[in-house]
Every structure is written in C-alpha cells, then in structure tokens.
Amino acid sequence: METGPVKAKVHVTLKSGVLDPQGKAVQNALTGLGFGGVDSVRQGKYIELDLEETDAERARESVDAMCRQLLANTVIENYHIDIEG
C-alpha cells in the first residue's frame, strides 16, 4: 500500500567485539558522576533520511544499499533501518 513520502531512521553501531574507546570514556564519566550500575556504554550514530519514495519496501532496499555503500563501514559497524510511512 502506498502512503506518503517515507522517513528512514538509521542506527549505526559498532560490532560487538570492536573496542569502543569513546563509549568506555562515557561510561567512566557516568561512573564519576555517581551513576552506578552502568555496565557498558556503546556509542553509535543516528541518521535520519527524508525520502521521496512512497513504498516502504523499496525505501528499505534503497536505504540498505546506502548503508552498505556509504553510511556504515561494515568492517566495524552494524546498521539497523526503521522505515516510517
């Protein structure tokens, strides 16, 4: 079913096993601020795209290609796409 233009929300995160020194520093800072019980922090990127595409499936395929070619580096990063109609 075609609705209006689609918004894609992309989360890019480091693969598990890849060290995240920034996340580690944030975790240490939180501990220093007195926030106990934070076992780990992983920092990533959030990218929002407004698309002309109105079909959610085609939008997902297109954004998936964007992630593989540019938005994520799949050597070190995973990505997750949410499509909102």
């Binding site: 060290l19 020194p21 540019l70 580096n73 070190i76």
Partner: protein, 230 residues
C-alpha cells in the same frame, strides 16, 4: 617517474608530499583535484594526509565513496599502478576497499602528534626496499583516527602473507604497549595490498625527508620509489 597527488577538500599534506616526491624524483607531481575523473597516466598515485571532508561520517569515507576521481584510482590500483596512502590517505584506502580493515578513534581518545619508532616488517617492495628488514626508523604521526582494526582472521592473513609494512615499536625494535600510539591491533602502522603495489600507513614519511626538518628517515621511501619506477 611520473606521480600524481590527489587533492581533496581538507587535504593538508599534499604540498609536503609533493616536495618530498620532487626531491627524490627530480620531477614535480601532478596535483590532481578530486573532482576531475580524468587522471593523467602516472606511475604512482598518492593519497595525502589531512582531513578530507572534515572527517564527516568517518575519516576518509566521503573521499573514498563520493569523489569523481576515486573510481579511477581504484581501477588503476587494480591494474597494478602503485598507490601510496598516507594518514588520511590510508583511511581512504581502507574505506575504498583497496586495503583491509579500518582506522578507528585512537584508544586514548587523544590526537597524537609526535615522532614514533617504526620497525620495517617487509622491505621487498618498491615502497620499502630502501630500508633494511627490521630496521627501526623515526617518523612522525599526527592523527586522531589511527587505531588499526581488523578481525583475527584478517590479522593472521596479513601476517602470514607478509603484508605488514611497518609496526609501531620501541627504539630498539621491541614491542611494549606504550610504544603503540593509538591502540592499533598487532601494532600495525602500515599494510600492503595482496600484490604489494598499494601501501597505506598512518605515519608521515614526507614530514621527515629533509635534514632541515630534523630527520631523513622518511626519505628512503621516496628514493626507493624513484629508483623502482624509473
């Protein structure tokens, strides 16, 4: 030997490497703007240091994926044209898939700008034959994202195939953690592609290629390239 230095918006070591190349080859390189896909025929392509596109998205990502010249650079590299990527150039080469792995934020989160010791791990390439095997050289680094990462299988492959060019080391060529300035796995400072025709490294040989700059340990790389490529 004819060479070209690719200039991206934000490159800032393009002129330094041009001076080093001219000093060793007697011929000024072509300074080639990234937006022009018509790259002249050259024997060596250099991707210089700097901060192409302000390191937006990831260091080297925009230069690798969104410039007119890079498809040509990749095609020439696959045909065997020598490609040297220094610092940001190394990041571009990994992003473009010409070299494996990735360069991540330094583990200490600091911008590291100092001379480091490097051990020459393979001196049987046109880039490194001016050095002795296991020779320790002093070359500056200046980067925030020089932390080399590759998975275990890739690291093993690189070691088995003799594709590590340089490792960070101490003055005597040994490995202690403090001598690794950025957290790179296996102390890797530079690697070759499968055929030894592409080299990417984080340190800046062009910055110590003239005694007036305080050292000449970078010069043998450019001299060797000049000899090998005529």
């Amino acid at each position: 030997m004819k060479s070209a230095v690719i200039v991206f918006p934000g490159s800032n070591c393009d002129r330094d490497v041009a001076v080093a190349l001219e000093q060793s080859t007697g011929r000024a390189p072509v300074m080639h703007w990234h937006g022009d896909p018509q790259l002249p025929d050259v024997d060596l392509i250099v991707l210089p240091g700097g901060f192409s596109y302000g390191d937006y998205l990831r260091a080297g990502a925009m230069a690798a994926h969104a410039t007119s010249v890079m498809p040509t650079v990749v095609e020439r590299a696959r045909k065997g044209v020598r490609v040297l990527g220094i610092c940001n150039g190394f990041q571009v080469l990994t992003e473009a898939g010409l070299l494996p792995g990735a360069l991540m934020r330094n583990t200490n989160l600091s911008y590291v700008c100092r001379d480091v010791w490097l051990r020459v791990e393979n001196n049987r390439t046109p880039f490194t034959e001016g050095y002795g095997l296991a020779q320790v050289v002093r070359i500056p680094v200046a980067h925030h994202d020089g932390n080399y990462y590759a998975d275990d299988a890739t690291l093993k492959h690189l070691a088995d195939k003799d594709r590590v060019a340089f490792r960070y080391c101490d003055r005597d060529g040994g490995f202690r953690a403090p001598d690794n300035p950025n957290g790179s796995r296996d102390n890797i400072a530079g690697i070759f592609n499968e055929s030894g025709t592409v080299l990417g490294l984080m340190p800046h040989p062009e910055r110590l290629a003239d005694p007036r700059l305080g050292g000449t340990d970078g010069r043998p790389m450019f001299d060797a390239l000049a000899r090998a490529l005529g």
